[in-house]
Symmetry: C2
Subunit: 220 residues, 2 copies
């Protein structure tokens, strides 16, 4: 009896000032009815990442997500049926992507990380692991911008950093640093939510690449 091999994907987005994770409600046993990460068995001749993309697409309708391998979970008792090792992947997307529940999944939804219900298998642990990775990535990658729409305001970006890092940041220092990095293009558009309108910016990937070559990091 061989060891089973699955992939699971943790996809985050940022919406309503909260970090959210993409979950499906399981339509089949085991753990039927419970929320779980999108995922499933790896095909015989399939790349791991392709398997993760396929499962994500099949179960949630999400496509064109850039995934990175997160960690492999191999506790012998993590699946009650039989030995299954799962390779977890991490993805970051802007909010508002169209979703569509697949055949195995009764429901798809973005759930805020705060107050998650009990998840299937060891998926709670996988989500924690993903959050930790995201926290680290915020320091040296464009993770923060992948979680936002193409146009975003600085208060919004700062709230994202604060949500992920779980601490408050100083508004002036935050903006000063973003300004210094030179990776944001100010647009002639303002978002008029609430009170005073906030200027919108877009991220300039090219400038970021140059910074990376120089080894410059984010300071938050």
């Amino acid at each position: 009896m061989a060891i089973g091999l699955t992939v699971d994907t943790v996809v985050f987005t940022f919406e309503d000032s909260a970090l959210k994770v993409l979950l499906v409600r399981r339509g089949n046993a085991p753990q039927r009815g419970r929320l779980a990460l999108p995922g499933g068995f790896v095909g015989e001749r399939e790349n791991l990442e392709q398997a993760a993309l396929r499962e994500l697409r099949e179960e949630t309708g999400l496509r064109h997500v850039s995934l990175e391998q997160l960690y492999s979970f191999g506790n012998p008792r993590r699946d009650p049926r039989r030995r299954v090792v799962s390779i977890a992947y991490l993805g970051l997307v802007a909010r508002g992507r169209p979703l569509r529940a697949g055949s195995d999944a009764a429901q798809v939804a973005w759930l805020p990380l705060e107050k998650l219900p009990k998840l299937a298998f060891d998926h709670c642990q996988i989500v924690s692991c993903a959050l930790e990775r995201l926290r680290n990535k915020l320091d040296y990658s464009i993770a923060g911008f992948q979680l936002l729409p193409r146009k975003f305001s600085l208060p919004e970006l700062q709230k994202l950093y604060e949500a992920v890092l779980d601490r408050e940041l100083d508004k002036r220092n935050f903006r000063k640093k973003m300004d210094l990095l030179g990776i944001l293009k100010p647009l002639n558009e303002w978002r008029r939510t609430g009170r005073k309108p906030a200027r919108l910016y877009s991220f300039i990937p090219k400038k970021f690449e140059k910074l990376k070559d120089k080894g410059i990091l984010f300071p938050f």
Copy 2:
């Protein structure tokens, strides 16, 4: 036909001013006669890390190594026989540990990372991945001290940092920072290799934990 699951371990040490990796010469097909990372199939009810420790012990005689999961390699053609996914682990040990070639391995040896021969399967890629991880770990962990004996000199420690980071460091700045961190205990012993004897130090794990709590990093 199910997907096979193996573990491979990349164990580094530092000896003769060079970073070395532990390799075995394969005694069986496929790739018989070629150098490879210690590793093998995961047991039906075995933890992944335990499997890695077991294979390491069986093939090289090394025990009591602290391993961390590195990455999972799943290219469908990485093993010519059949589909095998391998979960790689990283270990760091002091030089001089006793080795003993196991049954599957015709030979065991520490090989300097510079000028490695062609390795079996995708093991060259796995080693590169491990080196990259080690480089990162040097910044925020005790990785540097795990690679050295309990007693070591500052020139030796610096050479280790330089070998891993692949760049020269300023002697005075290096020592100043180590002094500032306060994680080294100067011993009343000197190593008289070459010319002027070098003072020996030992690492103080307790002090390091305190630094970690404060989020202080190494600056190299």
